[in-house]
């Protein structure tokens, strides 16, 4: 699943930063079923590299990930004009919506994974990205 940037099939690309194997399996199930191209990263540093390289439409990250935590990753993406347009969803076990907002994230969702909530949020963020960038890559 590496259809990005500018997936030839026109599918939105999502980078997911997640270490919990069960959450990864379920996110794969629900996001690919919904028609998105999904890329995984094991830690924040790898995710930053992947985001700069792939310019995905959306990055979903847990806060507690190794090397670079999800909030620091979000700040770095939003500070860089080249990656600022990537939508960031903080999806965490922590009660941290205020900190996510302060880090510049576009949305926050608390775990556990509720597929309809996740898919609705993803769809809203992608629609917002289309509205603000005219569908251009970041």
């Amino acid at each position: 699943m590496t259809d990005s940037p500018g997936s030839p099939e026109g599918r939105a690309t999502i980078v997911v930063v997640e270490r919990d194997p069960h959450v990864r399996v379920l996110e794969t199930l629900f996001l690919t079923e919904a028609g998105y191209a999904v890329e995984f990263a094991d830690d924040g540093a790898a995710a930053l590299e992947k985001a700069r390289q792939l310019r995905p439409d959306l990055l979903i990250t847990e806060i507690m990930v190794p090397k670079l935590d999800g909030l620091a990753l979000c700040r770095l993406l939003k500070e860089d004009p080249a990656t600022r347009g990537i939508m960031v969803l903080i999806f965490s076990i922590l009660t941290a919506s205020a900190r996510a907002r302060d880090a510049g994230a576009d949305a926050f969702l608390r775990k556990p994974l509720a597929e309809q909530k996740l898919l609705d949020t993803v769809e809203q963020l992608l629609a917002r990205r289309r509205d603000t960038s005219g569908g251009e890559s970041a």
């Binding site: 069960h22 903080i90 302060d102 510049g104 949305a107 926050f108 608390r110 994974l113 597929e115 949020t121």
Partner: protein, 473 residues
């Protein structure tokens, strides 16, 4: 990012579940015992020996929560075949055939797990989640899965993995099993469980008493102890164990006297009984306890105070004759006669019924005739003590004036005062009656032993029973 930088940028998301939503059991008493139900998104164990009602409890919960949103998944394993479970289920009122296959989905996992081994469990549950998005998952029997696990170490690995999956996904899980109490320390599912409830069955003489108990409920308060349980056509019915009311004694006590309806007795008591007090009325058979208690009840009805007479010995026909003897129709508004056979008496359900009548009918006077039958219905003396204490506290807080009769051994009051009724030190007032034969007449006597918060006439007084009832001479 500063507030200025963020201004105008939309953000969605809030921190949820400060107070978790609850999954109702489908029985209101069990929900109240659990502090509102099982916390949503938790892993729970429903345990109990065979025949205690575990599967029925689980099925009732399932059908109660079946709706038009996400379905509920019920997985049978290696104990009862699916067909047998469903056949049995159709006998209960909560069963709704129209929900089958849509809102409630049954899967049989035993055959595949027996072939592939316990390691196939988590991939199977993952597949069900992906395909069905269940809001509740029940696995019945989970304990039976131990039989196909090659070792406890392997079972521990699978349970850990399953807990990870069930924690990652927005669902509430119930693992049903025929666990014995000591298996809580050895079986790994008890370590990952957020909630554990147990259904029990005890032999009491010739009958079985069933109970419900919460063993663990992470992150939630609950009412401890054994709560009576009955299996009915409507499903599992649970009666909350009686505990003392939250309001302290003395709260809003009305300093008002209530007449006893017995001529001369109010004067002996300093003007009557205090409203909300509990009086122990003791005496041997034939001394007139039921007559006094009935006069007290009917006096209240005549004064517009609804009365409840709980009779555990006198059969309903006999009691109705007695009521008619006092010139009152047993069906009179405000008079409630509640009969329970002492043979089948279960104290929790009786108390539940009494409080229901107090709430619904505005009962102000109550008689329990006789407390000795409660003594024989409860095996544990401490439990009876707690019950009686809580009962009198509830009466006081609700302004219900109570008389509780108790049969004493002869010789009674004139042979030296001795009463060992479990209620004696919990009651506000104690009145003793005595009957003896002298010549060709039965002589009855009455003595007020104790009145709380009031002076009383301590002398032994002769009483007489006439067509008008009992009265002090």
């Amino acid at each position: 990012m500063s507030e200025e930088q963020r201004a105008g940028i939309p953000f969605t998301g809030v921190d949820e579940d400060a107070e978790p939503t609850r999954i109702s059991t489908g029985t209101s008493s069990a929900d109240r015992i659990l502090g509102g139900g099982f916390p949503a998104h938790s892993i729970n164990i429903i345990m109990g020996e065979p025949g205690t009602g575990k599967t029925l409890f689980a099925q009732q919960l399932v059908f109660h929560n079946a709706g038009d949103d996400r379905p509920i998944l019920y997985v049978t394993t290696l104990s009862e075949p699916l067909g047998k479970v469903v056949k049995y289920l159709q006998k209960f009122e909560f069963f709704d055939e129209s929900r089958m296959g849509t809102a409630v989905i049954y899967e049989e996992a035993g055959t595949e797990l027996a072939e592939k081994g316990i390691g196939a469990l988590v991939p199977m549950v993952t597949e069900w989640i992906g395909r069905l998005s269940p809001k509740i998952i029940v696995i019945d029997s989970f304990k039976a899965l131990h039989d196909i696990s090659p070792s406890m170490a392997e079972m521990r690995r699978v349970v850990h993995d399953l807990a990870g999956l069930l924690t990652a996904y927005d669902t509430t899980a119930f693992l049903v099993g025929e666990y014995a109490g000591d298996q809580m320390a050895t079986h790994p599912e008890f370590v990952v469980a957020d909630g554990i409830v147990e259904l029990l069955r005890h032999e009491t003489g010739m009958r079985d008493d069933r109970f419900f108990r919460v063993r663990k409920l992470r992150g939630s308060s609950y009412r401890e102890g054994l709560h009576a349980l009955r299996l009915t056509a409507g499903g599992v019915k649970i009666f909350r164990r009686l505990v003392s009311p939250e309001k302290p004694r003395g709260y809003a006590i009305v300093r008002e006297r209530v007449s006893t309806g017995v001529g001369g007795l109010d004067e002996m008591l300093g003007g009557g009984l205090w409203r909300g007090s509990t009086t122990l009325l003791g005496g041997p058979t034939g001394a007139g306890k039921t007559t006094v208690a009935l006069q007290f009840t009917l006096d209240g009805v005549r004064r517009g105070e609804p009365g409840l007479y709980v009779h555990l010995e006198e059969n309903p026909t006999q009691l109705s004759f007695l009521v008619e003897g006092f010139g009152m129709d047993p069906e009179s508004p405000g008079l409630h006669l509640l009969y329970h056979s002492p043979v089948e008496l279960q104290i929790d359900s009786l108390v539940d019924e009494i409080f229901g009548l107090i709430r619904e009918r505005g009962v102000k006077r109550i008689v329990i005739d006789a407390v000795g039958d409660l003594v024989t219905a409860v095996r544990d003396p401490q439990r009876l003590h707690d019950y009686l204490y809580a009962l009198s506290q509830h009466f006081a807080v609700n302004g219900v004036t109570a008389i509780v009769t108790f049969e004493t051994a002869r010789p009674g009051i004139t042979g030296g005062y001795s009463i060992d009724a479990p209620f004696s030190h919990l009651s506000d007032n104690i009145i003793l009656l005595e009957a003896g034969i002298a010549g060709d007449r039965t002589h009855r006597k009455l003595r007020v032993i104790k009145t709380r918060g009031s002076a009383h006439d301590p002398t032994v007084r002769e009483v007489e029973i006439t067509s008008e009832g009992i009265g002090i001479l």
